[in-house]
Amino acid sequence: MEDNGNRVTEATWEPKIVAFLCTWCTYNAADLAGVTRLQYPPNLRVIRIPCTGRMSAKFVLDALRHGADGVWISGCHPGDCHYLEGNYYARRKFALLKNLLEHVGIEPGRVQFSWISSSESTKFADVAGRVTESVRALGPARHLLKKEPEVA
């Protein structure tokens, strides 16, 4: 694992978290958190999605396979979906995906979910901190990490 040309040791390791944020709520909450100058850990790599209903199990596995230590998916509270019901469908998929991943031995806490509205910048900073700390406690993700080169 190379980072800025320096070898990453156990002492310098920082969790990499891929955050899939709904553009209508959590993404704006992150923006607001920045505007209000709230402190939150710099471990997130944000990917903006149009709705949590757009999330696919493939995205989560792809992140874990390519070196993410944690995945955080956040969208609108139930009832607040911009598309009325995208997050309701997503909720069922997430429940099953989380259970399946944990069933095959991915540690609970690697993949996390939250509902954060555009105005909840403090909740965004809180949850970002909690997600980062719980992934840090788990250590680097090894299970699904793809070490061999992809073969087309």
Binding site: A57, K58, L61, D62, R65, P78, G79, E85, Y88, Y89, R91, R92, K93, F94, A95, L96, L97, K98, N99, L100, L101, E102, H103, V104, G105, I106, E107, P108, Q112, F113, S114, W115, V127, R130, H143, L144, L145, K146, K147, E148, E150, V151, A152
Partner: protein, 316 residues
């Protein structure tokens, strides 16, 4: 087991003669003992090739999606549930299919029979009542059918067709007091590391032939995620992360649709118990949303609907 073969002949002959269907999908004898081939009969003269016994393990619902013609199909309990899934998902219209329902007493797992023969080659295998009679050069043994049933058949609770146009025999009694998820709970009781090791070993023999996918009636996508290249979701190799990603995503795509027909497991050339993935999802869906796949045409699949009060304790 009742004499289904003659009843299938009778029904197939009638349907073809009356031009109610363009073809009949069923099984014929294979060239290897305990193997039956799926076959599509169009000519009433060929009806005699159809057969039915405890080796007709394949799920014929696999041949229904995107058909333009009208066909009759012989279907066990699980197969009829898969036909329902196809109808619900719009893959085939109800009036395009004549279901010849077969109350099923379970299918024989060829691998279990072979393992009991201890390297002796079976030449002829037949069945009588509850016995499977195996003949080979210099030996002849009778096995209890219950001993060599497919794993999914031993825990089956829907042996009778859920939809059918012609029921070929009286319904069989459903199995009572079955614990369908004993093995899933055993895995759930392990710690994360132990579970990881369990599944790593489970899929280690996988050669990525995709026989499980091809045997599955649910896998009708024009392009499967394993064949997608931009982006490429997983490598083609037998690198453990790839194999496990494949099995997880395959199972996840079957969530709320899998009827536990066991076609995947029977098709696997390496004998991998791939139902361990689909059963976990099946159990969760039953516990969380109270649905079983393919029980009725009236109900949408569990991942196609929601309830405002669905459990969400895992979401912060």
């Amino acid at each position: 087991m009742p004499d289904y073969t003659s009843k299938i002949h009778e029904a197939a002959r009638r349907l073809l003669a009356e031009k109610q269907v363009d073809g009949v999908i069923g099984f014929r004898k294979g060239t290897v003992p305990m193997m039956r081939q799926p076959v599509l009969i169009r000519d009433p003269a060929d009806v005699e090739t159809l057969c039915w016994d405890s080796f007709c393990r394949m799920n014929l619902a696999n041949y229904l999606p995107k058909r333009a013609d009208r066909v009759a199909v012989t279907a066990k309990g699980c197969d009829t549930r898969n036909i329902v899934v196809h109808i619900v998902e719009g893959q085939v219209k109800r009036d395009q299919i004549v279901v010849l329902g077969i109350p099923c007493l379970g299918m024989v797992d060829r691998r279990k029979v072979l393992s009991l023969l201890k390297d002796r080659e079976p030449v002829e295998v037949s069945e009588a009542e509850d016995k499977i009679l195996v003949k080979g050069s210099g030996f002849e043994i009778a096995l209890e059918k219950a001993q060599v049933l497919q794993d999914n058949c031993t825990i089956c609770v829907h042996r009778n067709p859920v939809i059918c146009d012609t029921l070929l025999a009286d319904p069989v009694p459903e199995q009572e007091g079955i614990d369908r998820y004993e093995d899933v709970r055993a895995v759930e009781a392990m710690g994360p590391e132990e579970r990881w090791e369990h599944f790593r070993e489970l899929v280690a023999p996988c050669i990525r032939c995709y026989a499980c996918r091809n045997a599955c009636p649910l896998c009708y996508c024009p392009t499967c995620f394993v064949d997608e290249s931009k982006p490429q979701w997983l490598g083609k190799s037998i690198d453990p992360p790839d194999t496990l990603t494949f099995h997880m995503l395959r199972a996840f795509h079957c969530a709320g649709r899998c009827t536990d027909c066991g076609a995947c497991e029977q098709a696997c050339p390496m004998g991998i118990k791939v139902r361990q993935f689909t059963k976990k999802l099946e159990k969760d869906i039953l516990e969380l949303y109270g649905q079983e796949a393919g029980m009725t045409i009236e109900v949408r699949p569990p991942l196609d609907v929601y309830r405002p009060e669905d459990p969400q304790g895992f979401i912060q």
